[in-house]
Symmetry: C2
């Protein structure tokens, strides 16, 4: 069931996938964002075998996306709470859900985001933090970052940054 | 190697994961966004076994993210080009990469996005398309969409929309 390891790959997307662990883990995070925190809540929601859920919660905890906290002392019961690192994963889930809504929900979106205070529906798009200009595949290019390795430079070179020419 | 199927799950994120197929497929899409299109280009970049790459390209093609096109007639050679559905996946890769850069790149980002025309670095954030207000986990809530099933309503109810109370 475990995929090939991406460890050592010089790509943040690969590292992110490695860190999250498995497809299922993303649905655990989804439920955590919806406020579920206890083992049986996740199990009811996901219909997943006990040992699988245990393993995935352990993985997410070890990788710092969830934090295990005692909520009853006797007998000890634990809940799983999103850490800051886990909460920072929220945009991935939002973009994934948006894409699913766009292309895989013939009857319309299952769920939609709304402003917490006003209840007004939100349509998430990517923008640049400073300029607030939309970030789309057509208007960006990719540059090596501070941590670029030789592998990254080779990848960007071999790609000829064709990214730009497809618009 | 194949994960448990998410087919039939009333969740766009689950459907999206099902549609993309596997962890590896996301790295194939990454390379497609970088402009790679030919079998051997993907293989060189990913260091992946021929039969695995064949299977994943087939999956992405059958699911409409890539389109297979002949680029040499004799002998027939194919390249794999992102479809509109495939290009729409770009924000998922951007948010995934950003999260990886934030939490898993101790030496700094491997790659970074820049404006195609000006070369100015971009910092992607999620905003609402209309108001351009930032969308964060803390300022949103979730509502049933047009395609909400009973399962979705139950999930949202059981979550008590605690999403709001964690901020």
């Amino acid at each position: 069931m475990k995929h090939t390891s991406f460890k050592g790959m010089d790509c943040s997307a690969a590292q992110a996938l490695e860190c999250v662990g498995e497809w299922w883990s993303i649905l655990i995070l989804r439920d955590a964002f919806l406020g579920l925190s206890r083992f049986d809540e996740f199990q009811n929601s996901l219909g997943i075998a006990t040992n699988s859920l245990t393993r995935r919660l352990k993985h997410l905890t070890e990788n710092g996306l969830l934090e295990r906290r005692i909520y009853i002392e006797r007998p000890k019961r634990y809940e799983y709470i999103l850490t800051e690192k886990g909460r920072d994963f929220f945009p991935v889930l939002v973009t994934l859900t948006k894409w699913g809504n766009q292309h895989l929900a013939p009857n319309g979106a299952y769920v939609q985001l709304a402003d917490r205070l006003t209840g007004k529906l939100l349509e998430p798009i990517l923008t640049d933090k400073q300029s607030l200009l939309a970030i789309t595949y057509e208007n960006v290019t990719v540059q090596p970052g501070q941590g670029a390795t030789e592998g990254v430079l080779a990848r960007l070179a071999s790609s000829k940054l064709k990214m730009n020419s497809r618009g």
